[in-house]
Symmetry: C2
Subunit: 137 residues, 2 copies
DNA sequence: TGGTTAATTAACCATTTAGTTAAATATAGG
DNA sequence: CCTATATTTAACTAAATGGTTAATTAACCA
């Protein structure tokens, strides 16, 4: 994981960091004010680390004001991520067209699942073998 | 990291998995055909694991056809992710308005950085102290 | 100068992630 | 039944992630 897009998605893959972005979307805010809502759940250095992840992804820029570090949201990487997602739009916009087919599929899969449950029961009766590698001794 | 959105972003935060989704966007495909382009870089079990991450995020569903496991892209989680991003659209759509201001900021920051370099050099001459905790003995 | 607040860094630890190889399971087909 | 192909699982390992506490740095202010 080294490219820009991966860093962006990685940064977004955490609820704390997403909450920090939400807070930042209301305007510039310094580190301790940004941290405040999270100090019930984690320490300040933990927040600093999350912030660093957001910075490394380019989602947040930090400036200086005396001993404060005002943080600002930068939307550019989100634009990149959104653009990437755009190529899959067809896969979630034909929902109405596909709903009927989807339901049929689900029904079919459920029937399949029931069949398999029966099959597995029979096999259990015969004795199921364990999977994978044996423990080294 | 346990919620749906986090799992989705986490799944997208890897170039191999994104490439797998790209492949899947061209239609249903079984595991070994899906794996083929990646076997130069990693083993088949590694691909299986990536596939499992995509499945757990709900981005891929696997069915059965004899010994084959045809995989299919499911766009729903991408829809959820896109919807989440939507709330930040204002932060990357005013780009033209903000470009000038951004450039001014960058310039200001570069000047700041130069000033700081000088400051640090002076301090180095006086002797810089190390940061953080001391090694336990 | 000394104390207080803001923020970061270091050292450490537990868990997760991403990969490996070897073995096991599932199915088809001679 | 035996064998080949497809896929998964197990066991293991190295590195990354997400957290901690203690120490350090930076700047303000009385």
């Amino acid at each position: 994981m080294n490219d820009q897009l991966s860093r962006t998605f990685q940064a977004l893959a955490d609820p704390t960091r997403r909450a920090m972005l939400a807070k930042l979307s209301h305007g510039e805010i310094n580190v301790s004010d940004l941290a405040k809502p999270f100090l019930k759940d984690m320490s300040l250095p933990a927040v600093t680390k999350h912030l660093k992840v957001l910075e490394n992804a380019g989602l947040v820029t930090k400036t200086r004001d005396a001993q404060y570090r005002p943080c600002k949201l930068n939307g550019t990487p989100l634009k990149t991520a959104t653009d990437w997602m755009e190529q899959y739009r067809t896969f979630f916009e034909e929902s109405l067209d596909r709903l009927g087919e989807y339901l049929k599929t689900v029904t079919a899969q459920e029937k399949e699942a029931k069949k398999k449950l029966n099959t597995k029961k029979k096999k259990t009766a015969k004795g199921i073998k364990s999977h994978g590698r044996k423990k080294q001794t």
